[in-house]
């Protein structure tokens, strides 16, 4: 018997009697907190910073002044070609992105309860981008923020992504004596821009 059949046979023989799947009633979690201030608080708790912006141009000019030393920059925002110092279509291997200083990405939504921001294949020319960049900037609309992860997955239910990630803050570790160090393997900083739409 193949291991597959062996495992399935044993799982079937050894499982308990059917137990019903509980329903998720989101109303029990409702804490009527203000979505925007909760989101900002949670991004900051996770080590990120939140800014406001009026337009994509506004984002880019602010990003430029925040990272004046950024030599290799890339943005997926529209009309920001003059910010980009690399042509992503010319990149053959993800490894060639190693020197990326500043990356600006659009996101379709964020989650207030934990400051997590969804970035998916559709917004990502290459999957490694948000991890390999030194400084990550995420841009989203104010009214795209949802309260809990439950609503986040409702949004994702119809959307068929091959790869997507919730990002909350810059990469971090506390593996040496529990002292928090920002900047492990991923981004060293996270800046979040909220746009009015």
């Amino acid at each position: 018997m193949s291991s597959r059949d062996y495992i399935l046979k044993r799982a079937k023989a050894n499982k308990p009697e059917a137990i019903a799947l509980p329903k998720i009633d989101v109303s029990v979690f409702d804490d009527s907190r203000n979505i925007l201030s909760e989101f900002t608080l949670k991004v900051e708790t996770a080590g990120g910073n939140v800014f406001e912006a009026t337009s994509d141009d506004d984002v880019i000019s602010k990003v430029k002044s925040m990272f004046p030393d950024g030599k290799v920059n890339f943005s997926t925002l529209k009309h920001t070609k003059n910010f980009n110092t690399l042509n992503i279509e010319k990149i053959n291997k993800p490894h060639d992105l190693e020197d990326l200083d500043v990356l600006v990405l659009e996101s379709s939504f964020g989650v207030a309860e934990n400051g997590a921001i969804w970035v998916a294949d559709s917004q990502l020319p290459m999957r490694v981008l948000p991890f390999i960049a030194k400084h990550l900037v995420l841009v989203l609309n104010k009214d795209s923020i949802v309260t809990f992860m439950h609503q986040a997955y409702k949004k994702l239910s119809s959307n068929d992504t091959d790869f997507g990630v919730f990002i909350s803050g810059p990469s971090k570790t506390a593996d040496i004596e529990q002292s928090l160090v920002i900047g492990a393997h991923g981004a060293l900083s996270l800046s979040v821009f909220l746009k009015e739409n």
């Binding site: 993800p94 986040a152 997955y153 790869f163 990630v165 971090k172 593996d175 040496i176 991923g186």
Partner: protein, 456 residues
């Protein structure tokens, strides 16, 4: 070695033990703060428990559904009945891709299967990329905690270790500097890797996708650079639907470190263009545990580590004292299921205070299961002479009220009148690092009778 013997070794360095104890209690505290900030937290835990229980009760169907969907996504699915088969499958995938250098993110399953030594013996370089795991890998030790693998190491030890292996400068254990150096060292490994191995936090039956959670971004750095991704999962990692991730991702980070969510929760479904993705589904004793009604709920575990952080025994004995891949309270109910004889002392490494069950995000009745293992172990394995005879004596005393009365009197008198050296003599392990209380003049029963009389 018994747990208590191994714990004695850890307890030789009192300062370190105190630090360990406090550091973990602090993590437990952060967990409380963040859990209490969630309205409906208990309901969330009920859901976590319920979804896992439901999944186990349909495990075979969900496994088939998951496999079907994963294959549709262009992922190759492999099945391993035990650790040995798992290791061989991973090796054969690596061989087929001619991969010699492998980066690995945290996966307790590959620890359980002892994958690293197996691959190394086959001329494959495996680098653990989680900072804590890299530290213990360099020290040639197993992780001592499932979320904080190097919690038993002081920063000065890490300093020396990095000087030796990474050529760093002496820095008095400056965490910022050491982390920065590790980042550089591991960046190189990520860039050179031929394959990336990850664990799986949750596998979703109805999409065939899976989620990997990290704070450092190491899983993603590995996977998105290397041409091959191998994800290794135990059969109990399944959940029915993507929407259930909403429940588990709300529970996991908060229970583990008090974070509202881990920095990265990566959702993998299809391999990126030109790359390959493999999933290895592993049993290794899990279907056996599923067959035990008293213990099957231990398969709900989402590996948050909260039960370790809160456990008064774990905090003061250290993860290595358990001599099992998963230490702490949950390890003490999982390990005896695998090797009752080897792990027979683990269910006794508990005060049965129940704190583990109170914090467990998926409501595993951990302390009840510990108690149940004790019943089985006492019956099936030989017990130490002192324990056996003293238990017998206690049993006799408790069964006869008049005798209990007499012994109580003697004990109370002795505690008040005998010299300390005699009370804390060698056979009395309870007196090892503490003074016993002064014996009261009367027994509870006498006091109660008197009180009743006074009140009438």
């Amino acid at each position: 070695m018994s747990h208590s013997k191994a714990a004695t070794i850890f307890n030789k360095d009192e300062k370190k033990v105190n630090w360990h104890d406090k550091a973990l209690w602090f993590v437990r505290h952060k967990r409380d703060k963040s859990a209490h900030s969630v309205k409906g937290w208990e309901e969330l835990r009920n859901l976590g428990h319920g979804i896992k229980a439901h999944t186990l009760s349909n495990l075979d169907t969900y496994l088939i559904q998951f496999e079907e969907n994963a294959i549709k996504n262009g992922v190759q699915v492999h099945w391993a009945a035990d650790a040995d088969e798992h290791n061989k499958i991973v090796q054969s995938i690596l061989k087929a891709h001619n991969a010699k250098k492998v980066v690995k993110s945290k996966s307790m399953l590959t620890e359980e299967c002892h994958l690293n030594p197996f691959l190394e013996a086959n001329d494959i370089e495996v680098i653990d990329t989680d900072l804590g795991e890299r530290i213990v890998q360099l020290a040639k030790e197993p992780p001592s905690h499932i979320v904080l693998p190097a919690i038993h190491k002081k920063k000065e030890e890490v300093d020396v270790l990095f000087q030796e292996h990474l050529g760093t400068k002496p820095c008095d254990g400056d965490p910022q500097y050491l982390t920065g150096e590790a980042r550089k060292h591991l960046r190189e490994k990520f860039i050179q890797a031929d394959a990336a191995i990850t664990g799986v936090n949750f596998a979703v039956a109805d999409t065939g996708g899976f989620v990997v959670c990290t704070n450092e971004g190491n899983a993603d750095m590995g996977v998105h650079l290397a041409p091959v991704h191998i994800a290794c999962m135990g059969i109990e990692k399944l959940i029915p639907k993507q929407e259930h991730l909403g429940v588990f991702l709300r529970l996991l980070g908060r229970s583990a470190t008090g974070q509202h969510i881990t920095t990265y929760s990566s959702h993998f479904k299809k391999p990126r263009n030109g790359a390959k993705m493999h999933i290895v589904i592993v049993d290794n004793g899990r279907t056996e545990q599923l067959s035990r009604p008293d213990f099957r709920a231990s398969l709900h575990c989402i590996r948050c580590g909260a039960c370790m952080n809160t456990c008064p025994i774990y905090r003061r004995s250290g993860g290595h004292s358990y001599d099992s891949t998963i230490p702490g309270p949950i390890g003490s109910i999982l390990s005896p299921g695998k090797d009752l004889k080897k792990h027979s002392t683990l269910p006794f490494a508990s005060t049965l205070c129940g704190s583990c069950s109170d914090v467990c995000p998926v409501k595993i009745d951990i302390h009840t299961q510990l108690y149940k293992w004790r019943q089985i172990i006492t019956k099936e394995t030989p017990q130490p002479f002192i324990k056996k005879t003293s238990m017998k004596m206690m049993g006799n005393i408790f069964s006869k009220p008049s005798q209990f009365d007499k012994v109580g009197k003697v004990a109370r008198w002795s505690l008040r009148n005998l010299p300390k050296g005699m009370i804390n003599s060698k056979p009395n392990v309870w007196g090892k690092a503490r003074d016993l209380p002064l014996g009261p003049k009367e027994s509870f029963e006498d006091w109660y009778k008197k009180r009743n009389k006074d009140e009438q």
